[in-house]
Symmetry: C2
Subunit: 114 residues, 2 copies
Amino acid sequence: MTDTISREKFLNAVKFNADGLVPAIAQSCSTGAVLMMAWMTRHTLEETLATGHVTYWSRSRQKVWRKGESSGHVQRLVEAFVDCDGDTILLRVDQMGPACHTGAPTCFFRKLGE
Amino acid sequence: MTDTISREKFLNAVKFNADGLVPAIAQSCSTGAVLMMAWMTRHTLEETLATGHVTYWSRSRQKVWRKGESSGHVQRLVEAFVDCDGDTILLRVDQMGPACHTGAPTCFFRKLGE
């Protein structure tokens, strides 16, 4: 059901958008909760795979964003997937502390009521 | 931990990008698997919330994409969340059949090897 591919094939499978970015979804490997979605460049994706510490590209700050570098709420990479058309990445992570800058466990804490 | 908000507040919280789109992550509410990521316009988001049948905007075909309309592999909306900064939606869904057009249960079937 799952195709296991090499790092080279994985990197070649990823299609970055016109801005050189790809969306990456982080999911907790312990709870299964979807924690956040952020963006990566090829450089931050390579850094993430090489170091095992999830690193994004901050679009608002226009700089490399090593998740948890200041807060300590790092994400350790456990598994990485690329989708069928290569335009989204899914990271299964070990999340230290809350994922959200608000202190919530996940960024998706606002739920539509009935 | 979770803030429950009205449909009006939910729709107002969503920030669409310059193309009028917002990324929506679909997660199986039965297995917890992340199934796919696709894009919505305000119109398809409103249709999704009104009908309970998940409807995206196809960027490749530039048209409304009622998921499963031809394949039967529909997604019934169970819960909808918006993230802290309003630029990503998370849908917990009841997925009929495989989510992926390849026949895989999820679009994220390519996994980075050791």
